[in-house]
Amino acid sequence: MDIATQTTSPSPPSSGPETTLASKGSSHAGDRVFLALSRGSGITLLVIMAAIAAFLTYRTGLAVSKDEANFLTSSEWNPAGDPPVFGIAVLLFGTIVSSIIAMAIAVPVAIGIALFISHYAPRRLATPLAYIVDLLAAVPSIIFGLWGAVFLVPYLDGLNQWLDTYLGWTYIFDKTSDGVARNLFTVGILLAIMILPIVTNVTREVFLQSPKMHEEAALALGATRWEVMRMSVLPFGRSGIISASMLGLGRALGETMAVAVVLSPSFIISGRLLDPGGGTFAQNIAAKFNEADEFGRDALIASGLVLFVITLLVNGAARWIIGRRKEYSGANA
């Protein structure tokens, strides 16, 4: 996500002691190798990104030009039909809704865990706790998917009933079918658990770097522990929290296997989150890729391009938010 900052131009090699002034450059083989390496890495990264974008755009062009429906607004997916009809509306909806649920749950919890580990817990407890969060990140997503389908789904039935009974009037928690909880809501919860480690770890690292002197400044003014968090730790960690959330969001948007295992997909858009159905970009590609013909694959790739663009936009937005308050960033610390 750091394309822009990776390619900073290296500063010219500094001249060494006086004796090398005449032979400037020739004695700096190390500098030149490093310059070539770092510049090369930067260029390689750009080339790879461009190649992916070009590939996706080309195949998307092939598919969308033959699409008889509106690619962005149609909620059908039948590229093999005659005429071929497919659109991403359902996928867009499902991807965004499940990611929003995931973020809404994961980010506050992650900030809480990170604050606890970095500022509240005694070290005896903080170290193992941080380690366990790391372990959570190491669990493969298919395992999360299986756990979700076998364990989480049956257990969420009760919660779904409860939400339907007491919050059904909000429409989004209105449950109209009796099916098990293989819905977008469950997917959101599962995604929240999956992105929790990355969001927690990044925010924890940032909180740990929060300057002692600013925490003491708050304490000396008579701040309580929570007020110290609010006055110095959280503002300092703000851009870190945003980056961490965006990293998590990136993972939630693109998560494939876990969603594919848990969700019972269908091509409908429904704001009733507890009803089974819906789909996400990645889940749809995984589910349909093998049985699709050449054209069907191009259609799936077209949907992949949309996901790619969304991810880029999300990262761009994050950079913009972080950059906007640069002069307050604590560079003085």
Partner: protein, 258 residues
Amino acid sequence: MAKRIDISGLSAYYGNHKAIDDISMTVEPRSVTAFIGPSGCGKSTFLRTLNRMHEVTPGGRVEGKVLLDDENLYGKDVDPVAVRRTVGMVFQRPNPFPTMSIFDNVAAGLRLNHSYKKNKLAEVVEKSLRGANLWNEVKDRLNKPGSGLSGGQQQRLCIARAIAVEPQVLLMDEPCSALDPISTLAIEDLIGELKERFTIVIVTHNMQQAARVSDRTAFFNLAAIGQPGKLVEIDDTERIFSNPSVQATEDYISGRFG
């Protein structure tokens, strides 16, 4: 509003290490008391016991009594947060909150206390900035971040922030050691004005500074590295610098060690 501080039998520890040993002294209200002594003698630690900041350090613990006009800061029911609202502190390195504007920095303590009226806030901020001799320099950019100021201005901003809540006592931990001579002079002048309103305790490595700004001076020393720091003597500044009663003080002041 300024209060007398009576310290008796105060020792402070880092874990098992005793940093200062059995210190007793009285700090007079509306005066400046300077703490001098070689590095590691515990004068900063001692200063931090006076607003219960020492115990924030992991393993930090304190024995003894600190009476602020007869109220023991280490009494059983005393809330350290309340103590720190009464005893303000200025640190060695200027530490304005980097995410806050100049105005918000000064208002930070007031907002914590919730003891102000909204329309009074601007008034108090102006008064505090004037009190810190900073108003004329920042009045046109109150909404700019405090971190954009020079080091000396930042330190005066921190002083404004500390006095905005009208503390009884103002503790200063080497407030000028990170500043150039001109900024130092500005702060020293300010200390002279502030002592009319507050009880001020200042730790300094600069003996000329102690001689210039303080009314009373306390000299701390330690027997050897690793030994706890002790109070050697406290007396009128003039006397400490001309005719101290302990030989070690004279040796230190005349530069024979430390």
